[in-house]
């Protein structure tokens, strides 16, 4: 465990040794607060400690992630003519993710759902464990700590599974997502010059790109963790096959949506206090979820948009019956429209994209070869989904039926093909910025 912790610290220090201090500071506070809270009986004192920990975690997040955003908007709100000061702070890597993990730990201890960990190294590993540190999955303490305590044995089955998942993630990210970016980036950089069909293509490509980028990272993280004897929660379950928006959120970024449900939506009252309050809670939860993604109004609106969709879905549940195919397509369309706000760097860009999507317009189109390439990659994802959904019959892992040497060579070949097909200008994972 100590080796893994040391490796995680080195991994983080490679990016920025100074921000290790930030992560150590918040980790120390949470560790001590949890211990103290468990020892106390007085509810008032426990609550004060909880608020102390929440303030430190959210304060750091607010300072690093939302400092400029809040300042600019505050000055705009009060009508100040002074130019907003810009703080040149670099966002600590993975701060959004580890803040949520730390909050879930302190809240769970406060709710007496879990016992606080006595060993500070265990807690540090929970926060710093490098496969999930940067972009999730967001791990719950109740899921992670039992694994820390469990005796680790060298397990070939887990190693093989880890390698397979890592390769799958690498392929999704490096081959599919990064190549699709070539069809997306120019359109979102200057949407007014592109024709409607080019815009549609870009939106479809981005819908697939963000899925492959983020689920690819999650697969790689889960695979790596498996190789070290840890299981991380599943983060994606073929979300684009959802038949409604609520199902989509049960399949997309599952660890975030379940975190928002348990630590925000339920404390707000969930669906227990009448229909209107349920809608309010959904809107609030999703809007804050949007803000969590990035300090920008487009992200806030994206969250609000999904909150609205969830509210509409709740209002219409059981009243409108659509054929499965139509319901699936409508959900995919609604999600894709939402991605426009997520991808656009401003509202005006998003509105231009949406206008040109739904009002036919002439303009540039992407290069033919690029479109063929993008279509092939999307087809690979569709086939993968079809196999996963069992359309071609019961899904059997090839690893179980192929002889071991053949499967080994197949894995090696996939690895080489993934290397060979990586674009020359490799891109960072989209979720690294959050």
């Amino acid at each position: 465990m100590l080796c893994l912790l040391a490796a995680s610290i080195i991994f983080y220090a490679f990016w920025s040794p100074w921000y290790l201090l930030v992560i150590f500071a918040s980790t120390s506070v949470d560790y001590m607060v949890a211990l103290k809270m468990a020892a106390l009986q007085a509810q008032r004192l426990r609550k004060i400690l909880l608020w102390l920990s929440l303030s430190v975690n959210l304060g750091l997040l607010a300072f690093f992630k939302y400092g400029n955003f809040l300042t600019i908007n505050f000055l705009n709100l009060v009508g100040s003519e002074r130019a907003a000061p810009v703080f040149h702070v670099v966002l600590p890597l993975g701060i959004s993710f580890y803040t949520f993990e730390a909050i879930s730990y302190v809240v769970d201890v406060y709710r007496r759902r879990i016992e606080p960990v006595r060993n500070p190294a265990d807690y540090a590993l929970f926060i710093l464990f490098f496969p999930h540190l940067i972009a999730g999955p967001i791990v719950r303490p109740g899921f992670f700590f039992p694994q820390v305590r469990r005796q680790k044995r060298f397990d070939w089955i887990r190693i093989q599974l880890g390698c397979e998942l890592f390769l799958r993630g690498l392929f999704k990210k490096a081959v599919i997502a990064d190549h699709l970016a070539a069809a997306v980036d120019p359109v979102f950089a200057d949407p007014a010059s592109f024709a409607s069909r080019a815009i549609w293509w870009a939106v479809v490509c981005y819908t697939v790109q963000i899925y492959c980028d983020f689920s690819g990272y999650s697969d790689m993280a889960i695979g790596l963790a498996h190789s070290f004897g840890f299981k991380l929660p599943v983060n994606f379950r073929m979300p684009y096959l959802s038949l409604d928006i609520s199902e989509f959120w049960r399949r997309w970024h599952i660890t975030l949506s379940s975190w928002l449900r348990d630590y925000l939506y339920f404390p707000l009252g969930g669906s227990r206090e009448g229909r209107l309050k349920t809608y309010r809670n959904l809107l609030l939860t999703m809007t804050l979820g949007g803000l969590w993604h990035g300090a920008g109004w487009t992200f806030v609106f994206w969250g609000f948009y999904h909150g609205t969709l969830l509210s509409i879905n709740r209002a219409l549940r059981g009243r409108v019956g659509l054929p499965r195919m139509l319901a699936g397509l409508l959900t995919l369309l609604a999600v894709s429209v939402g991605w426009v706000f997520f991808r656009a760097d401003s509202f005006s860009t998003a509105l231009t994209v949406l206008t040109r999507m739904f009002v036919p317009a002439d303009g540039r189109i992407q290069d033919g070869m690029l479109l063929i390439g993008a279509a092939s990659l999307i087809l690979i994802v569709c086939v993968g989904h079809a196999i996963g959904a069992g359309i071609f019959g019961k899904f059997i892992r090839l690893g179980r039926i192929l002889p071991a040497p053949a499967w080994g060579v197949a894995m090696a070949t996939t690895f080489v093909i993934a290397q060979l097909l990586m674009p020359d200008d490799g891109k960072l994972f989209i979720y690294f910025q959050f």
């Binding site: 397990d155 070939w156 089955i157 190693i159 093989q160 599974l161 390698c163 690893g399 071991a404 040497p405 499967w407 080994g408 060579v409 894995m411 090696a412 070949t413 690895f415 080489v416 290397q419 060979l420 097909l421 990586m422 020359d424």
Partner: protein, 363 residues
């Protein structure tokens, strides 16, 4: 009981299969990467080093290849206008057929020069080869190594650099180029595949170096803060390069190869110090100059090649940065090279004077 035993057997079998598959995958990856590292050494020049391929192609284009070839980096690329040199030589020697060819490439040094000359001689043997040389080029620590690993070095070429891979700051590039070649050289492999399938080089491979265009004018000094800062950064980089200066390693071996090739093919090799601004020349400490001078004399004795120091031949006002001349510097240097270096050498050939003549710049 029976069920438990069955389950245990199944698990054991599963575990054994997983181990076998993983071990097979590991060895298959190692073998495939080794194959990749061998394959990349066979990669055609136009795929892995398109600039060099363009130069070789241009050299081969005329019916009679040029008898004077200049090998070097972008410094020589900017400094030598081969048409102007050719014009001067024709009027000075009265030989209207004399041809000069600038075979310099960006980011070139002795490793690149050796590679290019080995390709050029297959098309025709020049009489005179002018080789750009400065103290940093023969330094054991080679700051271009990372670039060389990608575009020209093979396993055989890398060997002499191995002891200095870390000090040259190319460890990660070396590791990726040789241990995961499918990743590092992915664009090369893809281009090669396209070339094999289509039978002709892809258009992206036809890269023309700026100084090969007849209408090209060397850039002048941009006189802005960004340019000043870029120059400063550049000088800092060279200062670092020249720290703990020691001649030897891969660069010296490649220079030896180059001079041996010239000797074997009866080519007159001239080692010429490229024009540098005073701020760049100031980086050469007396110790560096001394060891550089001793080494040049050794080479002269061993291979009979002259070292001609033209580093201070262009005034500072004619530089676009610390080590690239502008158009005025280009005109000046081309004339100096033609009048004072190449013309006497050509005269020697024309008069069939086998006795070694010394130019005013010989050391």
């Amino acid at each position: 009981m029976e069920n438990a035993k069955h389950r245990e057997d199944k698990l054991r079998r599963h575990c054994r299969d997983a181990r076998n598959a993983t071990v097979w995958a590991f060895f298959a990856i190692c073998i495939l990467e080794v194959i990749g590292a061998i394959l990349i050494d066979w990669c055609p020049l136009d795929v892995r080093f398109p600039h060099a391929a363009t130069v070789v192609e241009a050299f081969k284009a005329p019916q009679r290849p040029a008898e004077i070839v200049c090998l070097g980096s972008s410094r020589f690329g900017c400094s030598i206008d081969d048409r102007r040199v050719q014009g001067h030589l024709r009027s000075l020697t009265g030989d209207a057929s004399v041809q000069a060819f600038n075979a310099s490439v960006a980011g070139g040094d002795l490793v690149t020069s050796a590679l290019i000359l080995s390709h050029l001689v297959s098309a025709g043997t020049p009489r005179i080869v002018v080789i750009e040389i400065t103290p940093e080029y023969i330094c054991r620590k080679n700051r271009w190594l990372a670039i060389h690993l990608t575009r020209e070095l093979t396993w055989r070429g890398i060997a002499p650099f191995l002891p200095d891979v870390i000090s040259s700051g190319a460890l990660s590039r070396f590791a990726s180029s040789r241990l995961v070649p499918w990743y590092r050289h992915r664009s090369h492999f893809r281009e090669w595949l396209v070339e094999c399938v289509s039978g002709s080089p892809s258009p992206s491979q036809r890269v023309i170096l700026p100084w090969m265009r007849s209408d090209w004018i060397a850039p002048s000094h941009p006189h802005d803060m960004a340019a000043l800062e870029a120059t400063r950064t550049n000088l800092r980089g060279y200062r670092k390069w020249l720290q703990d200066y020691e001649i030897g390693g891969g660069p010296a071996l490649f220079l030896g190869d180059l001079l041996r090739l010239c000797r074997d093919r009866n080519i007159r090799a001239l080692l010429v110090g490229a024009p540098l601004s005073s701020s760049h020349r100031a980086l050469y400490t007396p110790q560096i100059e001394e060891s550089f001078g001793v080494y040049m004399r050794d080479l002269n004795q061993k291979y009979g090649c002259a070292f001609i120091d033209l580093r201070s031949s262009v005034p500072d006002s004619e530089f676009s940065d610390s080590h690239h001349v502008d158009e005025a510097g280009r005109i000046r240097f081309s004339e100096i090279l033609a009048r004072e270096i190449l013309s006497p050498e050509l005269d020697r050939f024309h008069h069939k004077d086998t006795k070694k003549t010394k130019t005013s710049y010989d050391q």
